[in-house]
Symmetry: C2
DNA sequence: CCTACTGTCATAGTAACATATGACAGTAGG
DNA sequence: CCTACTGTCATATGTTACTATGACAGTAGG
């Protein structure tokens, strides 16, 4: 698992890490129960501070993506966020709406947009299958 | 046009305004050429600072959503963002990916997700039609 | 011209983010 | 037990993002 930090991205570093771990989990690159890189080595590899990685992991734990045990490490949960369904639905709708608004504003028509969504779904499904082969 | 600010949303106030104006533009609630609320009255109505509104409008102008004339006001452009197509595509893909990852992570399957996307497209198309009637 | 509106700029204070460092606590293996 | 690994906490520091305040500049109409 290789992570990548962009300092001039405008987005907070710790949130970049959160997103990438979530993506790795969603695409199957990281599997349930699997251990994440430990804080100190990962911080060194990414050239960022221990506390920044710790903050990202802490955020991921509060989102229910990982579980962390003092002295042992952090591990992917077997899936299923801790959010109530209604809350999750609202979050998902908000995400979808943002993409839909962006498409509208860029004059992307319905068919093109649905095609793009299909493409991206395929893209992640492909990564998921690949990661389960070897 | 009524805007709504949530101070405990975690998201910067000026970006909340940007999103809402973009949504209003995308859904047709605001039409090309139409004047936006002027900075000071809007700031007062929303109980936020004039400069916060000004910053939102400035951001919207740099995104090509509105045009603003000193002493006259700010107006919706007749559409078409100033971004090059490739840049726009990357932005749109990033938006879509974020929604797709969220869906994956919430164990929402492909069909349900596509159904949701269709729903939200309908939702905005409906608002667009409604706003063009009267 | 003057007043009332428009947006704009300069400045300053507060909060968030990231880093750096040191100390502490639990776990595993020699 | 001791050492080396894990995560956690507290504190300090610098930078940047955000918000707030007041002064400035262009426009329109009486």
């Amino acid at each position: 698992m290789v992570f990548q930090i962009d300092f001039k991205a405008g987005k907070p570093v710790y949130l970049q890490l959160v997103d990438q771990v979530r993506r790795a989990a969603a695409s199957g690159v990281l599997r349930p129960g699997e251990a994440l890189p430990s804080i100190r080595p990962l911080a060194e590899a990414l050239r960022i501070n221990r506390n920044t990685v710790a903050k990202a992991y802490s955020e991921l734990e509060s989102q229910g993506v990982i579980e962390t045990v003092l002295g042992k490490g952090s591990f992917l949960t077997n899936g299923g966020s801790p959010f109530a369904k209604s809350v999750r639905d609202k979050l998902l709708i908000a995400e979808v709406d943002q993409a839909v608004v962006a498409a509208h504003h860029m004059n992307v028509d319905r068919e093109s947009f649905l095609a793009l969504v299909g493409e991206r779904l395929d893209h992640f499904e492909r990564k998921l299958v690949e990661s389960q082969k070897p």
